[in-house]
Symmetry: C2
Subunit: 342 residues, 2 copies
DNA sequence: GGCCTAGAAGAAACCGATTTCTATCCCTAG
DNA sequence: CTAGGGATAGAAATCGGTTTCTTCTAGGCC
């Protein structure tokens, strides 16, 4: 049987080591944790016994005894999204420096599942990071206290004492629109994100409260993924807009791909902008004009807040990140684009 | 104190619920797990007590008692790499269907750290997935038995009984070279990946064992990331090659970006190919010619193997995926490109 | 009506660590 | 010479569940 060769030996516990070394379990524990003063001779004997038996302590038993798992969970709406991957990475690397590990839970854009997942994930871990929760504010307000310690990313906290690292989506949208206005665009298409997305709501709020002098904005329902942007080409072209402001970079890149296939010059006939500044944005051709959200850093900041909370310290103040405009080649002056209007 | 509002109430244990319902802890456990036959009246009382106290069982204690954590770990060399993100996603979603969660560990391309991480991660979880381990084959062979149940992704297993999901990198490279040869290229640059990457070794092996009729290959040290490809432009142009075969899609896209900035036409003056077919490849402009590795599916397959192992079943046979050529717009016929040679 | 059995719930052991409490030993100081 | 004190290591309680074993009750059958 091939499997036999890989079957691990019967688990070695602290009791086995204690017996082998001829000491009590307490002493083994002390030696393994380098605690108290233990006779060097005994310490040596214990370590040798542990090595001989290839002992490795049970993390689960240890967690139960000390009341900590040294693990935090992160709940994201969609693991396929580069933004959430960045947050995960930032969190994971920052937490690792403190010896903590990260458990991931992917709600697959399902707000109900999200609530269940968050509860369940929290029970397994010492703390929780909720990224862009899709649940409505009522659920969120109800849930947060029982999830504490918890940190919100990409959304404001409705509960005092729950730190949040938010992004000023409105400012981001306004800086993009400002840039496009400067370039002479006065008819702009907005490719909207998922309706459940809090970030999309904020972008829409910003669009709806623009001064009268701002460019006209046509809203086109779209989505959050490549494919959504790719499929939106005709809707955008049909709108007569000279620029397309996309919900995020993925949508923008999808649209760019579709435009390229149709031989439509960017930015000559249509300017395209994204949101987030994912790593690919800079390397797209044409390089994508977008606003940068330092998502990796938000992941690291989330860890810093959690670490404060876990140590009973008052966490640092909430942060509202203002995205920075990254004007690149995919946006240009609104020129003869009007010819595409009927 | 703002923090007070978020401090969770003293943990509610099964003993509290038992007392509240006036039954034993054993009965509460039976009710919570829907086991055995419990008097409906008592069941109701227990459930009410649990609800009233807002009881949620300790996963840690439960794990210790039943000897399972319902968690698996995945160790990747670099969380920033879309390929590994895909594997993670496939694994996470497949495991979730069985009620399992995933712990991530990022070795940041450090083979020593990788060994430590793998051991540590395994202790916390029921099983382990090692993705593209960078450690040498001796370490790997030594480590795998003690990590079992474990599954390898992107690398063959040197230990019988440890399932592996490998990619036939050689076949991938050969199909790319075949396509380029067909297009008339006879001087090709290979932008090599990290030296510790097993996948890179395999690609090199394939390149070194080509028939004499194959195109000439110039090897250029590069890397695995965007930036590496971006920086490689001059080396590629200086080599006089008419096509650049890149270690992976990231490198290819970085190179494409650099070429675009320099106004060098792709594929007219230089054909560029990638490896992996990450989601962005199709949407790049020009769309990237590459070979597809179904990494999400490998993640799902990894879960299937682990699930078999966890249930004492013989896992399905190892898989060696042959990447499929995706000929797109970034490769074309080798034409007047020879003019770039001195 | 009495005996046997099945079923339901409690008591207690267990999972594998940590940690408090206690007992012992040895050394020093009065 | 003995009481006090500090250092070590063992015994036992604890963490919060699960599960085996035991007890008790009630129902069925002769």
């Amino acid at each position: 049987m091939a499997r036999m060769s890989t079957r691990p030996a019967q688990r070695v516990t602290i009791a086995h080591v204690a017996q082998e070394a001829g000491v009590s379990r307490a002493t083994v524990s002390r030696v393994m944790n380098g605690l108290a003063t233990v006779d060097p001779e005994i310490g040596k004997r214990v370590r040798e016994a542990a090595a001989k038996l290839n002992y490795s302590p049970s993390t689960v038993a240890r967690s139960l005894a000390i009341g900590r798992t040294q693990t935090v969970a992160i709940v994201v709406p969609d693991l396929a999204n580069p933004m959430f991957q960045e947050t995960l990475r930032g969190l994971s690397r920052a937490a690792a420096r403190e010896g903590y590990r990260v458990l991931v839970a992917d709600s697959i854009e399902n707000p109900d599942e999200e609530v269940i997942l968050a509860r369940e994930a929290r029970r397994r871990c010492d703390a929780l990071v909720l990224v862009s929760p899709r649940m409505d504010v009522a659920h969120l307000g109800e849930l947060l206290p029982e999830l504490a310690p918890v940190v919100l990313v990409n959304r404001e906290s409705p509960v005092p004492g729950v730190p949040s690292l938010a992004v000023d989506y409105g400012a981001g949208i306004r800086s993009i629109l400002g840039e496009l206005a400067r370039l002479g665009h006065n008819r702009i298409a907005y490719l909207a994100g998922p309706e459940t997305s809090h970030g999309n709501q904020r972008r829409l709020d910003a669009l709806h409260s623009l001064p009268a002098s701002a460019p006209e904005v046509i809203e086109i329902p779209c989505g959050a993924m490549f494919e959504d942007g790719y499929r939106a080409r005709e809707a955008v072209l049909g709108s007569g807009a000279t620029a397309a402001v996309c919900f995020n970079d993925l949508v923008a890149l999808g649209l760019l791909g579709a435009l390229h296939e149709a031989g439509i010059a960017v930015p000559e006939r249509l300017s395209v902008t994204g949101f987030d500044d994912i790593p690919f944005a800079r390397f797209a051709s044409p390089a994508l004009t977008t606003v940068s959200v330092p998502q990796t850093e938000l992941g690291e900041q989330a860890w810093a807040r959690l670490w404060d909370l876990l140590n009973g310290r008052e966490p640092e103040d909430d942060v509202v990140v203002t995205p920075r405009l990254e004007a690149r080649a995919s946006s240009g002056t609104a020129a003869a684009a009007a010819t595409s209007v009927a």
